[in-house]
Amino acid sequence: MSRRGALGPGWGLLLALLLALGELPQVAGVEEEPGGGGHQDSEGFQVVTFKWDHVQDPYIIALWILVASVAKIGFHLSHKVTSVVPESALLIVVGLVLGGIVWAAEHIASFTLTPTVFFFYLLPPIVLDAGYFMPNRLFFGNLGTILLYAVIGTVWNAATTGLSLYGVFLSGLMGELKTGLLDFLLFGSLIAAVDPVAVLAVFEEVHVNEVLFIIVFGESLLNDAVTVVLYTVFESFVTLGGDKVTGVDCVKGIVSFFVVSLGGTLVGVVFAFLLSLVTRFTKHVRIIEPGFVFVISYLSYLTSEMLSLSAILAITFCGICCQKYVKANISEQSATTVRYTMKMLASGAETIIFMFLGISAVNPEIWEWNTAFVLLTLVFISVYRAIGVVLQTWILNRYRMVQLEIIDQVVMSYGGLRGAVAFALVVLLDEEKVKEKNLFVSTTIIVIYFTVIFQGLTIKPLVQWLKVKRSEHREPKLNEKLHGRAFDHILSAIEDISGQIGHNYLRDKWSNFDRKFLSKILMRRSAQKSRDRILNVFHELNLKDAISYVAEGERRGSLAFIRSPSTDNMVNVDFSTPRPSTVEASVSYLLRENVSAVCLDMQSLEQRRRSIRDTEDMVTHHTLQQYLYKPRQEYKHLYSRHELTQDEDEKQDKEIFHRTMRKRLESFKSTKLGINQNKKAVKLYKRERAQKRRNSSIPNGKLPMESPIHNFTIKEKDLELSDPEENPNYDAEEMSGGIEFLANVTRDTATDSPSGDTGSDVPLTGRTSPREVLQATEKSPRPLAPPPAPPTAQNPAPAALPDLELGAGPTSEAGSASGTWLERRGLQGAHARSAAARRVHSRRSFQRPRARRRPALLKLASLQPSCHEPPHGLEQEETPL
């Protein structure tokens, strides 16, 4: 551990040496230039010239970026180091080492983090990234809390820290300092603000709950306006001189706060509007699409900087407001480009910032030590932050629906990291006006190092310790694991239903406004939809539409669909993680992989007993651990600067969405047919799984090649058989498209179980009906099973089951058997079904008029290219494999 710990700095040293080598020519170049310039003119044309000074600046910049990035690679060579020490701390240390080397070589601090570079080039990408990937719902849901902490909290921190330091100064503990009250307040205001860069760098590695995360993160972003105002106000007061400050100036200061913050926000919103509007018309210039996002957001930053408004707020809100429209407007590739570029820029900027924070410290000229001042600053910022958090939380908890608990408050107080913003601000101070600038600078550096390194290092153990204290550690049983996860899902479903998260008057108003006006202006017509909309469309479609649509897809050629790239993609996506082909392999695989996630489990198990059975248990635990769907709280909403994890979540969402839609569609159908379809869902599922399994275990896909053809012919046979029977129950129109599909459904149910007929007595509910299905398949027909169960029913069921499950290609026997069975059953069930159908018809009272059927269909069909969930869901199930 300790040896590996040394690896990071070790790497840094190596890099530093490399860098020092790169540095030498520069020094040489600078020295040679004045002398050598004159000579070289007379020597005539030279094939090769060494023009270091020509490329010096960009070269050095590029080198620094390279070094920082390579250092990052170095850290991640050792997982142990990065899991204990936050990257930001490591980078600062590397920076210190590099700075030391450069200093040793040159004896001048040539590289420091200058405020210009920081504010113009390094900070904007980070903040834009934060805004663009901001979990909006969560952010606006907690906006009140965030604002309170950002505004009142920051003012409180600034005032108390400044005043307390001044008080101590008056008592004489700090010795002689050429400062006054205003200088202390100025210092307090720049040291008060929690830094977005530092906070994120640390919080990302500590897993806290989403609310806590968004509060601290949001606070660190929004407090910028307060910091800027306090800073400029006190700076101008200091310039004026303490005695000339009047009450009017104070009022002006307060007014300027509102102007700066609201103005900054407004600039951001305006530019977001512009950006969304521009991306609406970039259809023919796809290649520069991503550029607009960056350029316009950056312009918002510069504009508000120009107007001396809060630039951070401007670019944050630009990102927050445009994300929805931009993501909908630009093509998928552009969206990916934007995402990756943004992450790259932000991550790179962050890396450079921390490294330069380290390098900048190596400069004896700025160091001025005052033990009392430094230590007291550290104490005051920690203590007052804690007090502030507790006080504000106490007030907030009276109004918040989700209470902030003690543990949250501890993390919040402890997570108040200071960072580069404070450093850049303190460097900006004018030494003429603020006499003790160097003391302030060195104290700021100490504070940053202390918070980033010490608190960054300890916050993770602290969180873990607090959590451990709350729940004793015990090896969970299989049942507990499974049901525990189920409970999580149940809870989030209930939350959604009871509307704790979903329902809010303002939000409803806003989304109405958004749908009616904003989206119409800012989104391409083709893009004016979302998943929710798809859901709506789905519900608007009545049963007939849905069925005929699916049937149409079927007619267009489900065979073609199987081979279509989209299916291939689906399969590829699902199997992006390496998968074993057999169960035996999976045992070793699971044992080998992902040990870290559940290693506690394993070890304790191993210690107790070792037997094959336990191994199997372990495998089961592993499988569950790995593949159980994650509840919402665990994966959604969180923002990460370094990772693009959305794909994973979307995949899960997509999978579940498919299933849900499929089932709902089936329950539609079952209402229509009067046949319970739960079994069918199971069946389809098995089929889906079987298909996937085959596709993955048989790479060349020989087996699947045959089966679809078989299946297809069988289906057609079924169609012929079932058509005439179904006819009488429905009007001719519905027949045309629907029956094909329905027939398939019937075929499956027929082969599955003989319970179809009884199912018709309990349509829709899904509560009581599966009993029949279940008992019919599990055990042989029992008294409960339908009395008119035809004798043939028993044959197809066992025959078809292995076929579909193992995917060994269908047996035509089963098909034909099911056909005949269907025929009989159809005759028997006709009566019951028509009754059910009538019931369904009566329920369709608020359906849309017929005339609108086409548009609705088209709408659904047009959704396909960009948002292909439901069409997939619908079509995929019809893939006959």
């Binding site: 629906m401 989700v402 015990r474 049983k477 299989l478 049942n479 507990e480 499974l482 049901h483 996860r485 189920a486 409970f487 899902h489 149940i490 809870l491 989030s492 479903a493 209930i494 939350e495 959604d496 239903i497 009871s498 509307g499 998260i501 329902h503 929710d532 859901l535 709506n536 519900h539 699902d574 199997f575 998968r579 169960v583 999976s586 199997e616 089961t620 499988t623 569950l624 593949y627 159980l628 769907y629 919402r632 899960q652 999978e655 579940i656 849900t660 089932k663 709902r664 199971v682 098995k686 799984r689 079987a690 309990v762 829709l764 509560r767 009581t768 599966p770 009993r771 279940l774 329920r843």
Partner: protein
């Protein structure tokens, strides 16, 4: 508590529902607003479709089962009292409930037993008081990704049932269900802080 008295008058039968569910006035009112917001064409009751409209439920593996639990015994509509009653299962257990409960009163809806029973009936589709192997398999199938093979699923199901099954009938009864979860803090885990 009494502050929202005049406003709570909007909720029909407020007193009775409150007594039954234990919701505070404010929560009840909020739920009522939610209920009406969900009710797409002001029918006065919710249909299955109203609940299916909630987008987040479509990506919740158990979403449709939860929806089903609002419609017991094949009913097609749920009115506000029933709506509130289902949600009341998730009310946090507070100290007053446990301490000063009238023994004559029925157990409150949010008791540990009732919370568990609610979960249990999500599994027990046929309502025979037992989670059969097949029912367990169905739930598992809903809850794991497609990466898990059918064989694995079956074996997980077998293990899970075996682990909980004490009398060896191949199914998990409610008693066995509660026993298998006796170490779990159900009161906390199955509560939503906001439903007071």
């Amino acid at each position: 508590m009494g502050s929202g008295g005049s406003r709570a008058a909007q909720v029909p039968d407020a007193e009775r529902i409150r007594r039954e569910t234990g919701f505070s006035q404010a929560t009840l009112l909020r739920l009522y607003h939610r209920f009406r917001a969900l009710d797409s064409n002001k029918k006065g009751y919710l249909s299955r479709m109203d609940l299916q409209q909630i987008g987040a439920l479509a990506v919740n593996p158990l979403g449709d089962r939860i929806i089903d639990s609002f419609f017991p015994d094949g009913s097609l509509r749920v009115e506000f009292p029933d709506f509130a009653r289902v949600l009341a299962h998730f009310r946090p257990v507070d100290d007053e409930d446990t301490g000063t409960r009238d023994p004559m009163q029925p157990e409150p809806l949010n008791s540990r037993m009732n919370k568990l029973r609610f979960a249990f009936q999500l599994y027990d589709l046929d309502g025979d008081g037992k989670i059969s192997r097949h029912e367990m398999l169905q739930v598992l199938r809903l809850m794991v990704g497609v990466q898990v093979t059918e064989e694995q699923l079956e074996s997980i199901t077998d293990r899970t049932v075996q682990e909980a099954d004490e009398d060896g009938d191949g199914a998990v009864s409610f008693l066995e269900f509660t026993k298998s979860l006796e170490k779990m803090n159900i009161e906390q885990k199955m509560s939503i802080r906001i439903l007071k």
